[in-house]
Symmetry: C2
Subunit: 198 residues, 2 copies
Amino acid sequence: MRKGRTFVVSGPSGVGKSTVLKALLESRKNLYFSVSATTRDPRPGELDGIHYHFMDVESFRKWIAMDQFLEYAEYVGNFYGTPKKFVDDAMEAGKDVILDIEIQGAIQVCSKRPDTVRIFIAPPSWAELERRLTERGTDSPEKIQKRLLRAKVEFQTAHTYDYFVINDTVENAVGELNAIITAEHCKPQERMEIISGR
Amino acid sequence: MRKGRTFVVSGPSGVGKSTVLKALLESRKNLYFSVSATTRDPRPGELDGIHYHFMDVESFRKWIAMDQFLEYAEYVGNFYGTPKKFVDDAMEAGKDVILDIEIQGAIQVCSKRPDTVRIFIAPPSWAELERRLTERGTDSPEKIQKRLLRAKVEFQTAHTYDYFVINDTVENAVGELNAIITAEHCKPQERMEIISGR
């Protein structure tokens, strides 16, 4: 059976990445959405193995020492990471894996797994990103300006990504993501077994 | 307006390339199917500009001298070639261009236009290709064996292609071709105008 592939999806805060990925998962079978591990406490309603794999700090550090993470970071005193095991199990089962991680994490993953496909979800324009952040209503105007600045800085380092999906509408963005996943399975190295096996 | 891109599609005799490309053209707007130029005489029912651009040998040689072909070849005493002009006009008009040419022609095109995307349409198996050639009923068993041998030799040089589409069913093959074209438009260099324009 063919092995799945890993797709890293990044994008600025407010671009609508969660909505797009949710719609992608509904539209496409055989996709595994990687669940992060964290040392922070579960919030009300969060389930272990669904929202996060909750771990204590000692276990997390042990996993780091044993190179059990594709990437990890410390953020506001808590660890967050992508466990190798679940990704590898899904790929062995023939599933494609989606990792929803930011640029620094993506760099870590790709240094360990150079065949990872990197997709950046971009807004149709900066003005539209500002509009979406404002409409969300969760941030102060100052915070929104900070997020926009960060997005623009991040964008400068995003030119190494393999694909840019423009989230103008969820439908278009999901269509492009589906096309990218399908196209990546048509690459020669993915078809070697079929090619050589006859 | 965004410029179109050029996609070279090759594949062995009998793989069903014409059927797949016809279905692709019906399924996707904004696609221009490149019409070859030739010095051979029109056959009954063949229309100039539709089936071929019919030219005399003198004009064809002049076009060669003026570097007006993306690729050309002489075959059984006649010239065949892909005129640059029609490809460029379509691309400038924002259309993607499909070139249905064999491997030698594809090499010529890509040496002139390295951003050309090369797609190889492969059969699900050699046995299936043999079955299709036999079913077609146009060739003797000896000719079929010759075609199969040629297909296998060609296949060895096809590893430089960007994508392999398996024509198991027309629907799947067209789905993969559509995905490849869409995905190629998500490449960073294709989105630079959007990216830098805001």
